[in-house]
């Protein structure tokens, strides 16, 4: 497990994909994927259940709060992956 701590410079969400970019303030930035579901245009993607969708919504809320108030978040992800596993605010 790896993590990246920084401020939120970008949050982009759509039915297809949700991703965010963090900036650690020392010149390092990284883009992370919250969800990516090709084929999701036909309704709720079968791969994502209601709980997962709620979790994604919570992540977006945390990121929006952090972006609006210039707060620091920490994203946990697998060392070799850009997929978000957890988000911590503060």
């Amino acid at each position: 497990m790896a993590d990246f701590t920084g401020t939120v410079s970008c949050v982009r969400v759509s039915e297809l994909a949700g991703f965010t970019r963090l900036d650690d303030g020392a010149g390092d930035t990284e883009t992370f994927i919250m969800w990516f579901v090709p084929g999701g245009g036909t309704g709720i993607p079968p791969r994502l259940n209601a709980f997962t969708r709620i979790l994604h919504s919570m992540w977006v809320s945390l990121l929006r709060e952090a972006h609006s108030n210039n707060l620091t978040v920490t994203i946990n992800h697998a060392a070799d992956s850009s997929i978000v596993e957890a988000i911590a605010l503060g």
């Binding site: 982009r12 930035t29 990284e30 990516f36 090709p38 084929g39 070799d80």
Partner: protein
């Protein structure tokens, strides 16, 4: 327009149509490896050639894991030129991190950068705008 568009890629294209950021990475790259999928260095030389005409400056590092080994290629952009070498540099403007099999799929055009990144198989650190320049220069 891509030479071959599968139904899945067509559907994906419709979904990313409203996002210039995502659509830049939608199309698979042209085959940068030729017949030899294992000679990854060839792909970086071809990327350097494509970037040589760009007005951008900066450094792009590709960090490729191959089993227990990690190899790095650095592309240094200067106005009108791009130099590539197998070496690591400090503080590249853009770093792309993945493993050799995934890079071979991307570089051979088997999978698009968007699909690879969206599946979590590629990490992108740094200037995403430089990544967009790279993708646009490689568009077939």
């Amino acid at each position: 327009m891509a030479a071959r568009t599968s139904p899945a890629q067509h559907e994906l294209a419709k979904q990313v149509a409203g996002s210039s950021l995502l659509s830049d990475f939608l199309l698979p790259f042209p085959n940068l490896l030729g017949q030899r999928r294992t000679e990854l260095a060839v792909s970086f030389k071809r990327i350097a050639s494509a970037l040589a005409g760009s007005k951008r400056t900066g450094a792009i590092q590709f960090t490729i894991r191959e089993g227990r080994q990690t190899r790095r290629w650095c592309l240094t952009l200067t106005p009108g030129d791009c130099h590539v070498e197998e070496a690591a540099i400090e503080n590249p403007n853009l770093e792309v991190i993945t493993d050799a099999a995934v890079w071979a799929d991307i570089a051979s055009g088997k999978v698009s950068p968007l699909e690879a990144f969206g599946s979590g198989k590629v990490r992108v650190r740094g200037d995403i705008e430089l990544a967009r320049v790279l993708a646009k220069r490689l568009k077939r």
